[in-house]
Amino acid sequence: MGHIVIKNLRKEYIDRRHKRRSKDEPNECIGDCVLVLDNINLEFCEGEMVTILGPSGCGKSTLLRIIAGFDKPTAGSVVINGETLTGPSSDHIFVFQHNALLPWMTVQENVALGLRGMEDKEMMKEQIQEHIELVELEGFENHYPYQLSGGMQRRAELARALAVNPDTLFMDEPFTGLDFLAHMKMREEVVNMHEYFEKTILVVTHDIDDALIMGDRIVVLSGRPAHVKLSEKLDFPRPRSFVKNTELSKLRDEVYLMLGVNYAV
């Protein structure tokens, strides 16, 4: 489950302080509005891990928020498994770019959020523990978020998302704030989990290496207003390495160029 089709998606933010809109052309953006997403068409297959790249402020978070149902598009539609999206649900869990652990709950209580419905309390406890161990937070079950470091908070949030076992997982820059090793580890963990559970995962990132190593498909957005510059299937065997796989490393150079960086300085 998790086949996603995005059709003619458009999003503009209107400055509500001076709202002006032409009567004749309601779709035309005039005056004080920011066009963020401009006619996005994408299709993601079931079980695909898609990495979304783009310059800062181009609208990656906005796109992800719309797909997850937190934000309404100005025009266009998102169809998930044949149904037009109406709002958020626990079938699609979102890992937010900025810390979204509930600060008044301990790590354990946060991870338990997605398991509230479980009948068997013993099993629930076990699952909570399992996911806390997965992100190596044993011993911190009863700590509050303010007692954790930034990286630990990210990991706790990942555990909370994974514990739900959702159809689709949306991650907005999930590795920011992690140190290099934790970054590598979490990346590996997400890839492993994806291989194992075959969920549809959308990962927004600004890290080109992450995007190429993790994704089954890579999507590159242009600067604002964002349109799709590249949407390509990555058919490289795992584990991937830029050194061993020259084609992958060639693609990396292309992506760098696409984002305006001459990689081979």
Partner: protein
């Protein structure tokens, strides 16, 4: 030396001693008669008298009773109303102007009406305390609810929270740190108002003790009343402050 200064009660103790000293000097050398400006010794002796014959306890209990009832009523009605105002735009648009209109009217301005409506006794005093605490609590709860980080409501929607869960797991814990601060400020206001109310509407309580003693020209009793009011105010504030140390509320003092 630093050790003594760092003891929690050392510096406040010095401050209070200084006040006592100044008081003593003023009482002795100001030239006022002892009936107009009694010194600390005399006041403490009369305080002991009032404690011994039970008068003080009776009046203190009467005042505390009124504050408790009025304050609890205000909490019971004000906080839920504040949550509604904070969460539902329609309710806010409907009620907020009325609340903002009533809020600046001092509770003391209600004294004539409350005496007319409720007569003499506990009721008008409780009503005044209710008014004095209700509006600040409504307004600060509304603000507290509105300033909860919207991401937490996204999380709630994401994890399929019911409306009830949104209130118990997001709204209440999220607003609690600010609401406890508001409770601290409000109980102080309520305590200020009870004394004023008791000077007019009732025949007991610390406010009445002060007024009655003034009429009897026993200024040492007036000062006794003032001292007890101060001490109890301090204790009330302290009790409210302890609420913010509850572990699941403590985040508010740390992460913001």
């Amino acid at each position: 030396m630093m050790n003594i200064i760092n003891r929690p009660f050392f510096l406040p103790f010095i401050a209070f001693s200084l006040i006592l000293a100044v008081w003593e000097i003023l009482a002795r050398y100001s030239g006022w008669s002892i009936h107009v400006f009694p010194g600390p010794m005399q006041v403490f002796i009369s305080l002991w008298e009032l404690i011994a014959n039970g008068t003080l306890l009776r009046h203190t209990v009467a005042s505390l009773f009124r504050v408790t009832v009025g304050f609890y009523l205000a909490i019971l009605l004000g906080i839920p109303l504040g949550i509604l105002l904070g969460r539902l735009k329609l309710v806010r648009v409907f009620l907020n102007p009325v609340i903002q209109f009533l809020r600046p009217i001092s509770p003391l301005a209600w004294i004539p009406l409350s005496m007319l409506w409720f007569g003499i006794g506990d009721k008008p005093a409780v009503f005044l305390i209710f008014l004095a605490s209700f509006f600040p609590l409504v307004v600060s709860t509304t603000v507290a609810v509105q300033s909860i980080n919207p991401v937490y409501f996204h999380v709630a929607a994401n994890f399929n929270f019911t409306r009830y869960e949104v209130v118990t797991k997001i709204v209440i814990p999220g607003m609690l740190p600010s609401v406890i601060t508001a409770l601290r400020i409000t109980i102080t206001i309520a305590w200020l108002v009870v004394v004023a109310a008791e000077m007019i509407a009732v025949k007991s309580g610390l406010g009445y003790l002060i007024l009655d003693s003034r009429n009897a020209l026993t200024m040492d009793y007036v000062m006794d009343g003032m001292i007890v009011i101060g001490v109890i105010g301090l204790l009330l504030d302290h009790a409210m402050m302890r609420l913010s140390r509850i572990e699941s509320v403590f985040w508010g003092t740390r992460s913001r």
